[in-house]
């Protein structure tokens, strides 16, 4: 019997100027024990479908057409109270970010017991027993202790398990999982996806899995619906869609996913919808100072750098406690190469980047840049000269641009700080840069909030290029972006390396991206370097157990059929 049947659903958000149609005639069906994937890029309307099913659309959004039925009964258009009874009991939801979806002020037990009692007429003792069983079932070790802890005492992956336990409290028939693993590391992601798969089989729960990650879709779902701009463009069994996509958007979406297996010169871009933006590398290269990379010696020599953070303050030295984030890490970066650093969150990769850029002091060890020791520069002029040579691009394009500053001021700031140009020349340079990164000179007078995530990352790149540096530090530059935008940004970075001879430190947790971008890779674990290898060698033949595990765990597309797609596009 069909659990959930969505027919011709249309959701609209009236705004002051026009009506925005978030979902346009979408239909999908969920059967017991089946995982139905909803995939698409941001703004495709996939989360809106989930919210519409639960009756949790943000105002003023509402369903304007279509019918949602649960076990044959229509549930769209029910009043609030009837909807509330349905929520949790019949249809439950798992949210994206486990760090924010649990109430920080209540213990796990309180939240579980409260939810169980909201749906079942049981005593508190019985509810506690069920809560314990659930915590045990979702694979949290030592359930008796864990039950009485608060959310902040759990790690991200464990919290997501608690969230799943909460969603299971009421024995729902359908679970809507909205990007359940996006905020998690690869290893944890694999565990959570396995848990969802197991639960779907075991309890015969129907799951709608909303994600932007084609790898997750390929590994987890039975059926998939591909959304583009509010409309489902293609739907069917996962292996068919992934193996033999019909719609051009599906084709380019699959092609745009970076491959771990085969290295391409450029990232295939999503051609559908005409969203490609030009990047004028030739113009940029014309005015760029010639760098002759002296290949005989490394540009960066990093020797045994260590960083400790104070965990507990204390007046007496032996009262203090430290956490060693980076533990005697050494590597060289050759001129003109892209050096990758991979590892799970907490492995210390961002800390290394911050130490190289001088944002963190180096507790032990030495960093040498172009023959000069830079880890303890006290001379202001020398420090400024060093900083002019290295620039950073950050992960989050939303928080790395000051929302109160105009784009031209943002890009001009490094030029003004280093006194590279004067007066009108600054303005001219800024406009050139913005034009070259594909935003157009008219972007100069706008504010960051007027741009999308990908466009903001272009602003960040323009800002990083403003001082004409020799070295770029890219700290997860695309992990907040959609695949199509990711491809554009990564191609820009590749161009910079090829045409301007820029050297890069590229930090990422995304192994396929690293494979495409980097010449050499360091794998970090617990603040130490597990291994350093040529990229191709690492993927073909990892030397350490940890690197092998990481490679095992990354979600893979079924590659046999997709290589022609890549060739096609």
């Amino acid at each position: 019997m069909t659990l959930l049947d969505i027919k011709d659903l249309t959701v609209e958000f009236p705004t002051r100027r026009k009506i925005f149609r978030a979902v346009n005639h979408a239909s999908l069906v969920v059967e017991p024990g089946q995982i139905h994937g909803l995939v698409g890029e941001s703004g495709a309307g996939k989360s809106t479908i989930g919210a519409a099913v639960l009756g949790l659309l943000e105002r003023p959004g509402h369903i304007t057409a279509g019918v949602i039925s649960f076990k044959g009964d229509q549930i769209s258009g029910l009043d609030d109270e009837a909807m509330r009874k349905l929520r949790g009991r019949s249809i439950s939801m798992i949210f994206q970010d486990p760090l924010t979806s649990l109430n920080p002020l209540f213990t796990v037990k309180e939240q579980l017991v409260e939810t169980i009692q909201a749906h079942h007429d049981v005593s508190e003792g019985e509810a506690t027993k069920r809560a314990r069983d659930l915590i045990d079932r979702v694979g949290i070790p030592d359930p008796d202790t864990r039950l009485n802890q608060y959310p902040h005492q759990f790690s991200g992956g464990m919290r997501q398990r608690v969230v799943i336990a909460l969603a299971l409290c009421s024995d729902p028939d359908v679970i809507i999982a909205d990007e359940p693993t996006t905020a998690l590391d690869v290893a944890v992601q694999a565990q959570i996806l396995d848990l969802i798969k197991e639960l779907a089989r075991e309890r015969q729960v129907g799951v709608i899995l909303v994600t932007h990650d084609m790898g997750v879709i390929a590994e987890t779902t039975d059926l998939v619906t591909v959304m583009y701009d509010g409309e489902p463009v293609e739907s069917g069994p996962t292996h068919e869609i992934m193996g033999n996509p019909q719609h051009p958007y599906t084709k380019s979406l699959i092609a745009a996913v970076p491959r771990p297996t085969l290295k391409l010169h450029r990232f295939p871009q999503i051609s559908y919808g005409g969203r490609e933006t030009r990047f004028a590398i030739e113009d940029l290269a014309r005015n760029w100072p010639k760098t002759d990379n002296d290949m005989s010696k490394p540009l960066f020599q990093i020797e045994g750098i260590t960083k400790r953070f104070l965990l507990r303050k204390g007046l007496l030295p032996w009262d203090r406690e430290f956490f060693t984030a980076v533990d005697s890490v050494s590597f060289d970066i050759r001129p003109g190469e892209v050096f990758g650093v991979v590892g799970e969150s907490g492995s210390g990769k961002s800390t290394v980047a911050r130490m190289i850029s001088g944002l963190y002091d180096v507790d032990e060890g030495r960093i040498t840049f172009d023959g000069q020791v830079v880890s303890d520069l006290s001379d202001k002029a020398a420090l400024n000269a060093y900083r002019q040579e290295i620039q950073m691009i950050f992960q989050d394009p939303y928080s790395s641009l000051n929302p109160r500053m105009r784009v031209d001021d943002i890009v001009a700031e490094p030029i003004r700080h280093h006194r590279l140009l004067e007066g009108n020349a600054i303005d001219k340079r800024v406009r050139e840069l913005l034009d070259q990164v594909g935003l157009g000179a008219e972007a100069a007078v706008k504010y960051p909030h007027e741009f999308s995530g990908g466009q903001r990352q272009r602003i960040s790149i323009a800002r990083a290029l403003a001082t004409q540096p020799r070295f770029l530090i890219c700290d997860e530059p695309t992990s907040a972006l959609d695949v199509s935008i990711q491809a554009q940004i990564l191609n820009i970075l590749k161009d910079l390396q090829e045409h301007l001879g820029l050297t890069m430190l590229f930090i990422s947790h995304d192994l396929p991206v690293v494979r495409q971008m980097c010449d050499r890779v360091a794998v970090m674990k617990g603040g130490k370097i597990a291994e350093i290898q040529q990229t191709d060698d690492l993927f073909a033949n990892p030397q350490t157990e940890y690197a092998r595990e990481l490679l095992e765990l990354m979600p893979k597309l079924d590659d046999l059929s997709t290589e022609n797609l890549v060739a096609e596009s």
Binding site: M93, T100, N103, P104, T107, E114, T115, H152, S170, R312
Partner: protein, 325 residues
Amino acid sequence: MLAYIIRRVFQSVIVLLVVGLVAFSMFRFVGDPIDNMLGQERTQADIDRLRTELGLDKPFPVQYFKFLQGAVEGNFGVSYRQGRPVSTIIAERAPATLELAAVSGFLAITLGIALGVFTAIRRQGFAANAIMTVSLIGVSLPTFLIGILLIYIFSVELDLLPSFGRGETVKIGNWSTGFLTASGLKALILPAITLGLYQMTLIMRLVRSEMLEVLRADYVRFARARGLTDRVINFRHALKNTLVPVITVTGLQLGSIIAFAIITETVFQWPGVGLLFINAIQFVDIPVMAAYLMLISVMFVSINLIVDLLYYAIDPRLRIDGRTA
């Protein structure tokens, strides 16, 4: 935890010492108490003798030190004007102020939180918008004006409530209370509203904006998706999270209720310590002023300490050491 409290108490003592020092350095500018104390037929010899007797010929740090010496023994000196020990005078007057502050603080907190939650939940409703508009008046009108308006309406025009004083009081031990007589309670209404209105509107607006913020949080959306009732979501999940930042401001506001009682007490001729302080300033009654200022700072400091301890009670994230987090 204990170490934390000890550290905070130690800090509080330093704050008190600094407040006292600043107060004593200011007293010289209030005027010369001798002028008021001796009659028209004073001679220079009388003035000098009294000045030496009171220790006013000494520099202010010495006077301050003397005051501290006495204060440690519980002796705050003798009022220049009334000729009685300051501690007795304050003990007589304190119940009036504390009762007034307690009632208006209670009103401010309960009504402020209730209305704040109401206006946040029914954000679009007519009643909520009406309350928000009216609350603007509470924030923007000065206290004395509200007091005078209330007196004009309820005492002069309607003749329902007394316009000054505490009414009849009953003595229980050393404490004189107005809670037990009808006239005492009636006399409390207008001053309590006057004193608490500003704090109430402030708390209300703060609770409302915090609550709106919390209602948008993921854990509230998740609670809704789990099918919890609105009542549980609003009053259990959202309210508790709302209170964390609200407590800080509320704590500070309670301190200022006692401190700003001066204005209300003057308008309503309320026989509390605020009125005592105003009169003391007119007569340059240094012992009374000093004792009052110290009393107010002790209250501020202890309220802040209680607020910080309340954080620990409400927010489990603070209870656990950084190590396990």
